[in-house]
Amino acid sequence: MSQGFSLYLARDSGLHRLHPLTKLSLAATLLVAAFALPGPWSSYAVFLLVLLPLAAWGKILPGFLRSVARSVLPFAISLFLIQGLLWPGGSPVAWLGPLSLKAEGLAFALASTGRILMIVSSFLLLALSTRPDLLMIALAQRGFPSTLSYIVVTTIQIVPYFQGKARAILDAQRSRGLETEGGVRRRLRALLPLVVPLVLSSILDIEERAIALEARAFGRRGTKTSLQVLPDSRAQSVLRWAILALAPLLLVAGLVL
């Protein structure tokens, strides 16, 4: 079941059964923690002790690790190489040929990587275990504007169509002799016959899509009902508030410690 380009992996797990807003609260608080917690090692500790077990509980551990690695590694590599090797006026710790790794640079890279790791993995945990449309519905049920939910869910679903369209236009132009390899200038000139037709042909769809939406009573004022019922419980509601309450506490702790 292809669902646009969302990362969601369907599993029969407790994590998946949690209410979407519970998982969103967790991601939000972890985001605050990433900036509030002191020292480089706290981020790694949270990742190992909180995020990995949750991913395991959600039966998404392999996919989770893969996605985290794919997202974080490029930054980690750049950080350790650039900030490690090129920290101005730093104290060398190890030598790589003529270049030296500086202690300050390494410490900085370690702390930054830890923070990136924590932010990225908390949102990946949310994305892998939560259906985006259900998250949007949960938000809409709490007063989130339906226009914003519409935008988010629709975008997720139509992106693959536009990616396909872009590829089709690329193929068509190439078969007409468009040069897309070679020097930078030649590649830049290829932009026009690729981008402009893609956008113009897409724009013409917009009027019809607006008509279709109106025909489905989207513009109607008054109460709307919902087909989807999201399982929730008093316990989860309490848990959500507890998680969210942690955030300001962490902020204060981070400032004080």
């Binding site: 449309d133 489905r216 109607r220 919902s226």
Partner: protein
């Protein structure tokens, strides 16, 4: 159900009207087909009957326009939705994108109308059965073929139970099997007497077989109005810039060659067989 009196409409910035002095009355439960050359005003008429003219396209509208007991120019679009439905040519653009499954996509309009949840489920299930999509209820709407998407668009409208359903060339991107399915659904829908169907089409053979009545549009006005055999077998078609179906053409040729009687010309295969034997 549909009552149009002397309707004249001009798009904003256009040099002349797209509809001129059009008058039309369609009773409840009728399947009414509208045919005409490109630019004759079929889509304009479809948009006018569903309120998108004047509310969405603006421009100048004169004359009487009442559909499902509502005065179109005086009723906001949001109030017309649900009572009057519109299906058009491009299947992809009719999928809202707001829902992840076929079932939820059909339910979308009902949620907006504030229909209670239990009733939503009932209506969606019957709409999916009517359009043969019940096995695809959990699929992503974007995982469907063009023909299935179009049936989904029709199902989404059917679930809203409109009193008048307007379709603007709904089968142009469908294969013959898909086209037949659509026409059968519409026939079935109208036969309940609850819904009036107005269908703008190019496929004359299907129109001949399924419509109760055929209207011919030419340059924004009504050039002919009557039962299929009468309208499609006459010379009105050619005068309006259309070609008759191959059955009619063959029969007319046979008549010219003295091989057949001067009976009314056939417009369907069955009629042609009868005519020529």
């Amino acid at each position: 159900m549909i009552s149009v009196q002397d309707l004249t409409y001009t798009y904003p910035g256009a040099t002349g009207p797209s509809l001129s002095g059009l008058s039309l009355t369609v009773p409840a439960g009728q399947v009414c087909a509208v045919i005409g050359a490109n630019g004759a005003g079929k889509s304009t008429l479809c948009h006018a009957l569903t309120g998108f003219i004047p509310h969405f396209f603006r421009g100048t509208l004169q004359g009487g326009l009442r559909v499902a007991d509502l005065s179109i120019p005086d009723t906001p679009l949001a109030e017309l939705a649900g009572t009057i439905g519109l299906v058009f040519q491009n299947p992809f653009n009719q999928i809202t994108g707001a829902r992840f499954s076929v079932l939820e996509e059909v339910a979308f309009g009902l949620e907006n109308l504030g229909i209670p949840r239990e009733e939503i489920l009932d209506r969606c299930r019957s709409a999916l059965e009517l359009t043969g999509l019940q096995g695809l209820a959990d699929r992503s709407p974007y995982d469907l073929s063009g023909g299935q998407m179009q049936r989904l668009a029709i199902a989404s409208m059917l679930a809203m139970r409109p009193r008048v359903l307007v379709l603007d060339e709904p089968t142009s991107q469908l294969d013959p099997a898909g086209t037949e399915a659509v026409f059968l659904h519409l026939r079935q829908l109208a036969s309940t007497g609850q819904t009036t169907v107005l269908l703008a089409e190019h496929k004359l053979e299907w129109v001949a077989a399924f419509a109760d009545r055929v209207l011919v549009l030419s340059a924004g006005s009504l050039a002919a109005d009557g039962p299929p055999r009468q309208v499609l077998g006459s010379g009105d078609l050619e005068r309006a810039g259309l070609r008759s179906s191959r059955y009619t053409l063959v029969a007319r040729r046979a008549q010219e060659l003295g091989l057949a009687s001067a009976a009314p010309l056939p417009v369907t295969l069955e009629q042609a067989v009868e005519f020529l034997t």
